[in-house]
Symmetry: C2
Amino acid sequence: MRTRRRPHLLLPLALLISPALVSAGEGAHGASPMVWLSLAAILLVAKLGGELAVRVKQPPVLGELCAGILLGNLGLLGFHGFDHTADLPSVSFLAELGVVLLLFEVGLESTLTEMKKVAPQSGLVAVIGVVGPMVMGFGVTSWLLPNESMPAHLFVGATLCATSVGITARVLQDLKAIDRVESKIILGAAVIDDVLGLIVLAVVASIASSGSMPDTWGLLQIVGLATGFLLGALILGAYVMPGVFRAASHLRAPGVLAAIAIGLCLLLAGLAALAGLAAIVGAFAAGLILDEVHVRPFGKKSARDLSEYVAPIVGVLAPIFFVRTGMMVDLSGLSAEPLILAGALSVVAIIGKLVAGLGVVGGTKADRFTVGIGMIPRGEVGLIFANVGASISVAGVPVIVPDVYMAIVLMVMITTVITPPWLSVQLAKLNRREAANTSGSE
Amino acid sequence: MRTRRRPHLLLPLALLISPALVSAGEGAHGASPMVWLSLAAILLVAKLGGELAVRVKQPPVLGELCAGILLGNLGLLGFHGFDHTADLPSVSFLAELGVVLLLFEVGLESTLTEMKKVAPQSGLVAVIGVVGPMVMGFGVTSWLLPNESMPAHLFVGATLCATSVGITARVLQDLKAIDRVESKIILGAAVIDDVLGLIVLAVVASIASSGSMPDTWGLLQIVGLATGFLLGALILGAYVMPGVFRAASHLRAPGVLAAIAIGLCLLLAGLAALAGLAAIVGAFAAGLILDEVHVRPFGKKSARDLSEYVAPIVGVLAPIFFVRTGMMVDLSGLSAEPLILAGALSVVAIIGKLVAGLGVVGGTKADRFTVGIGMIPRGEVGLIFANVGASISVAGVPVIVPDVYMAIVLMVMITTVITPPWLSVQLAKLNRREAANTSGSE
C-alpha cells in the first residue's frame, strides 16, 4: 500500500544542524557523532547547492562549491577557513576517496577509440591549451606575487591547464550539440589535456616537494615516470583486463564486478602514490584501462558499463570533495589581492584556451572560436591541483597559501559560469550562419 | 568496437599484494599508498572469498570472514591480530561507514506492513529467541570464564540474540521457500529481534561503559531512550519523510535522492551516537523510516526503491567491515579455551532459537521446528556487537578480549554454516509430508 503524501520542506533537517548540537561529547564507541553529523550536513547542503545551480542552469559542481563556501564561512560545523589538518580526518579521507573515484569515472568515460579519431586536431588544441595558460599563469603570478616561491608560480600555472571534461560534456549535452565536429574536438582535447595536466602535476608536485627545480635529467625522469606509468597501465590493461573481466563475469557473488573495478582503481591509485605520482593519476589510468570493458554480469542478459556501477558511489562521495573545497575558502580575511589575482588568472585562462582553438588545422570545417570557448571551463582537475598544492608544505608553509587558493577557486568558478551562456550564444550564431549558407547555396 | 577476450586469471593482481611493496614509504601528499593498497586488497580478497563461498553454496559473508582471517593471520598487509588501534584509521572508518550503511539497507528492506501481519507469532518467537540465548549465553560464559567481568558475560549473551535477517532471507530465497508461512514468521521475528537486539546492545554497552550494573531507574532510562529514539524516529518518519521525498523527487540535481537518503541515515546515526546509542541504531531507524518511501526520480517513468540506490555503495563498503572482522581473529595464540567456548556458545545459540520456534501459537499450520532452524544464523548483528564490545575498554582492558572475540566469530560462522543444509533437509521433509497429506485426503 502506498500512502498519499503532503509536501513538506527540508527545514526540519536544517534546524538540526546547529553548532550547539554537534559540539557535544564524543560517542561511547567508534567514530564520533560529529563525523556522522558533518557528513550528513555536507551531503545535504551539497545536493541543495547542486539543485539551486541546476535551477539557474549552471553545473551542480558550482552549487556544491558555493554551498561549501557558505558552510565553511558561517562556521556552522566548527570547521572553517583554510587549516587542512584541523578538520576531521575521516571527512578529509572520504573527500579524497571521492575524488579518486571521480577521476576513475572520468577515465571510464574517456574512450580510447574516440580519442584516436580526432587525435591530430585535438592534440594540437590540447598542447596549445596546456602550454599557453600555464606560461601566462606563471607570468601573471610572478608579476603579481613576486614574494611567492617559484613552485607556487608553477602550481598556479598548472591549475590553469586542464579543461574540465565533466563540465564541458555536460554543457554540450544540455545544448544538444554533442554530435558536432567542434564537440568531438573539444572532448578529445579535454581528455588529452587531462593527461597532459596529470603529467604537469607530477612534475610540479615533485618540484614543490623537493623545493628546487630539477635538472634536465631529473625532469626527464619525472615525465618518463608519469608517461611510463600511464602507458604501462594502458598496455597492461589492454592485454590483461579484458581477460580478467571475462573471467570475473562468471563470478556469482553479489556486486563482484563493481568491487573488482574499484579494487583495481584503488590498486593503481596506491601504485601511483608509491611511484611518487598523485593517487588520482592511477585512478584515471585504471578508468582508461577499463573504459572499453563492457561487462555482462552473471545471470543478466544485457551488458552494463562499469561506470553505471561506479556512478552511485561517486555521486555520494565526490560532492564531499567539492563542498570541502568550498569550505577551505576563507572569506574572513578577504582583501583586494586575491580578487585581483582571480581576475587576472581568469583573463589568462580564457585567452589561453581561445588561442588553443587556433590549433584546429587541416580540412575540417570546425569553428575555431567555438572550440576555444568550449575549452574554457576549468573544474575538478584545477581544484584537485590546488588541493595538492595546499597539502604540500615547504618549511611549514603550504606551496599554495590561502589567498592564492581562494583566487584559484574563484578562477574555476568564473570560467565555469561564463561558458554555458557564451557557448550557447556562439552555437546559435553558428546555426544561423549555417542555415544562411544552406539556403544561399540552394 | 568490442574486442574479443581471452580468459585470464586474477593472479597478476594477487602478486602485487606483497608486504615488501606496501611497507614502502608514504606518498608525497594525501592518504598514504598503504591506505589505497590495503583497501584494494581487502576488496579483492572479500570478493574472492565471497565467490568461493557462493560456489560451495554458502552465504558470501562467510567467505569474506574467512578471507579476512587468512589476510590477517598471514600478516600480508602489516595488520594482524586483535589490536584495534594499530591498523589504519581510514580503513577502520570506512568499515564503520560500511556497517552503518548496511544496517540502513537492512532497515530499508524491513517493511513495517509485513511486520504487522505476522506480529503475534513473530513477536513471541522473537522475544523467546532473544531472552533464551541471552540468558543461556550469560550462564555458559559465567561458568566457562569466571574471571571475565560481568559486562563481558552480558556482552557475549547479547551477541547471541539477533538472527541475521540478511542471511536468513537469502537462504529462504535460494530454497524458493520465501512465500511459506514459516518464512514470513521467520522474517518478521528476525526483524523484531534485530530491534530488540539493538535495545539490548544499548543497555549492555551502557553497562560496560559505566562499568557497573545500573539501578532499575537507570535501566528504564536506557531502555526508554532506545525505544523512544526508535519510536520517535518512526513517528517523525511516517509524517515528515514522505513529504520530504515527494518534494525531493522534483529535484533535478544528479544523485540527489540517494544523497538525501544517505544524508538522513548519517544524520540519525549521528543523533543516535549523541544520545549514547550505537550509530547503527540510528541508521536502522532511518532505513525503517524510509522503507515504504517509493521514489520516482525526476524525469524517469518507473518508481525505484531507495535500496536500489544504496545497494551499490553497501556492496563495496560492507565487505570491508567483514574482512576486517576476520582480520581481527588472531590464530597465532590459538588455544583450547576459545574453541571450547565457541562450541558451547554455538550449542546454546542453536538450542535457544529452536526453543523460540515453540513461540508459534494460534491457528497457524506453521511448522515450529522449521521456524526454529530458520532463526539460527547469527550474522552481521552479532559481529557488530562483538566489535562494539571490543572497542569499549574498562581500565584499559577491552570488554571483549581477543579469545572471546574469536569464540564469537566462530559461533557466528558455525551457526551460519549449518543453517542452509539443515533448512534444506527440513523443508524437503515438510514438502514430502504435505504431499502425502494432500494425496491421502484426496
